[in-house]
């Protein structure tokens, strides 16, 4: 089967003002099948967010290109949506207006976008908070809004950049379970960046381990655990073996000075 998303070797170098250039990605390539859940783990600063931004169409690589469904990526598009680590909610907009952002920018009328936004708000469990402003929500609630917003344009691909990193452990577990449910129901392709080995192992079909900067693929680990995955599975020996495998692959890349 043709992969749904694929890239040639991607290289991207930042040339910031007054600083030395930084090569964030060097010959990084990736292939994703439709409906697949893939996680990326890698040392801090290895270029994970950079890659997601390339895929999202916000950054143009110096070399290489990416294709999605056979079409070249040249900018943002409705078939892709990102859930940001820092939530990225517009503070002056209510929950409802934040969720409606994508459809609004597409030019959809209020009448057509409102019911769908409401549906998504219900889906992420925020019924009753439509009129609240972001500062009135907890971290977990904010990220639910971020998720609903990303789903509102009904994208094929969800890009998630450490979406749960700012949440406490319990909320995090809850959100992971909910994400899996939504993913299962809506058949999205998910590319999920995380620092948590456990999270990557629990959620994914495959885990991509990246090298230190400039980032490229070190190894791809397939997670052959049955779905649906429950909380108990996390306590099983197989799960621990997978975690250990990921850890062993990753640990040489972690720079103790960083």
């Amino acid at each position: 089967m043709e992969p749904y998303i694929r890239s040639t070797d991607i290289t991207l170098t930042f040339t910031p003002k007054n600083r030395d250039p930084v090569t964030a990605l060097k010959d990084f390539r990736i292939e994703l099948n439709s409906g697949e859940f893939v996680s990326i783990v890698g040392p801090s600063g290895c270029g994970k967010s950079t890659f997601l931004n390339v895929l999202l169409g916000l950054l143009k690589p110096d070399m290489g290109e990416m294709e999605i469904g056979g079409k070249k990526i040249t900018g943002p598009g409705v078939e892709r949506a990102m859930v940001f680590q820092e939530f990225g909610l517009l503070p002056w907009r209510t929950v409802m207006a934040n969720v409606e952002l994508g459809p609004e920018l597409k030019g959809e009328s209020v009448a057509s976008r409102r019911p769908r936004a409401q549906e998504l708000i219900n889906l992420v469990g925020l019924t009753g908070f439509e009129g609240h402003f972001p500062h009135e929500l907890s971290g977990g609630m904010k990220q639910r809004v971020g998720l609903a917003r990303a789903l509102a344009t009904d994208p094929e691909v969800l890009l998630m950049d450490e979406p749960f990193a700012a949440l406490d452990a319990q909320t995090r577990d809850l959100m992971q379970a909910e994400l899996l449910q939504i993913w299962d129901k809506h058949k999205k392709t998910v590319l999920f960046v995380t620092h948590s080995i456990e999270e990557a192992a629990y959620l994914s079909d495959r885990v991509i381990v990246m090298t230190a900067r400039p980032g490229k693929t070190k190894r791809i680990i397939k997670i052959n655990l049955p779905r649906p995955r429950g909380y108990e599975m996390r306590l099983s020996p197989e799960f621990n073996d997978i975690k250990l495998d990921i850890w062993n692959t990753l640990k040489d890349e972690l720079n103790p000075r960083e």
């Binding site: 409705v78 990225g88 002056w92 994508g102």
Partner: protein, 266 residues
């Protein structure tokens, strides 16, 4: 007794605030009755009662209406023009580096200098009358607005820009959805400064460059030692200033419902 005390506690802020103002006015009123003023001073001395009487007189006789209208027009036209110029220019300056670096010395210099140093020049160029004052009001209000708009735009949240761009927004939508709302608190703060500068511009402009308006009335009265009129004019300006400040506050409350708490600005 206790009930009064608790009522006092609740309203202490207002009671003390108004109390002091009343006390001040009373003391002022009684001064000439209690102390013998030196001859030179007695000539110029007036009391709140006389000022209030004069103000009432000026308002009811319609004497002040025309001048008030002139001053108000100058204020509105000058401030309006400055908003029209400052907002677009500030947005552009906040987003284009080179332009901003080139404009910066001019903006800094003009903002640091009280704009009324240009008054003689403005009167020379625009003639004696309302337009000179409008120009002074305009350049007075322009820079605080410009600088604040520009600061607001520069401090836009990168993450939010990326979020909105990721949904395919164009530059214009980006302005409308992120940049402008993000700069709003700054713009409001700029507006508050601008109002003060605009009122100052009206007063000084009319003092030296006009033969109409409340400021002119005051200057003329001062020249003729009619002290009541000077204070009456001052009270009028104070009233305008307070009303405008409250209007801005309302606007700010309206626009910042999304914010966790009011930012105190001084």
């Amino acid at each position: 007794m206790n009930r009064y005390l608790s009522q006092y506690r609740e309203n202490e802020e207002h009671i003390l605030g108004w109390g002091f103002i009343v006390l001040f006015l009373l003391a002022w009123e009684l001064t000439p009755h209690l102390v013998a003023l030196p001859k030179g001073l007695a000539l110029f001395f007036t009391t709140p009662y006389h000022i209030a009487l004069k103000l009432f007189d000026m308002v009811t006789s319609g004497e002040v209406a025309f001048h008030f209208y002139v001053s108000g027009s100058e204020f509105v036209i000058g401030l309006g023009l400055s908003i029209l110029v400052a907002l677009p220019l500030g947005l552009v300056m906040g987003r284009f580096y080179t332009l901003n670096a080139m404009f910066d010395p001019f903006v800094t210099a003009f903002n640091a200098t009280p704009r009324l140093v240009f008054l003689p020049l403005v009167v020379l160029w625009f003639g004696f009358g309302i337009w000179s004052t409008v120009v002074i009001v305009f350049i007075g209000a322009l820079f605080p607005l410009l600088i604040n708009t520009y600061e607001g735009v520069k401090n836009v949240d990168r993450v939010l820009v990326n979020v909105v761009r990721s949904f395919g927004a164009n530059e214009w939508q980006l302005m409308k959805i992120v940049v402008l709302p993000n700069s709003m608190p700054y713009i409001i703060a700029g507006l508050r400064l601008a109002i003060g500068r605009a009122i100052l511009g009206v007063v000084v402009g009319e003092f030296f460059g006009s033969d109409q308006g409340v400021g002119f009335l005051m200057a003329e009265a001062a020249g003729n030692y009619i002290v009541d009129v000077v204070f009456a004019g001052l009270i009028l300006f104070m009233g305008i200033s307070l009303v405008m400040t409250m209007a801005v506050k309302k606007l700010e409350d309206r626009l910042s419902r999304w914010r966790p708490e009011q930012v105190k600005t001084f």
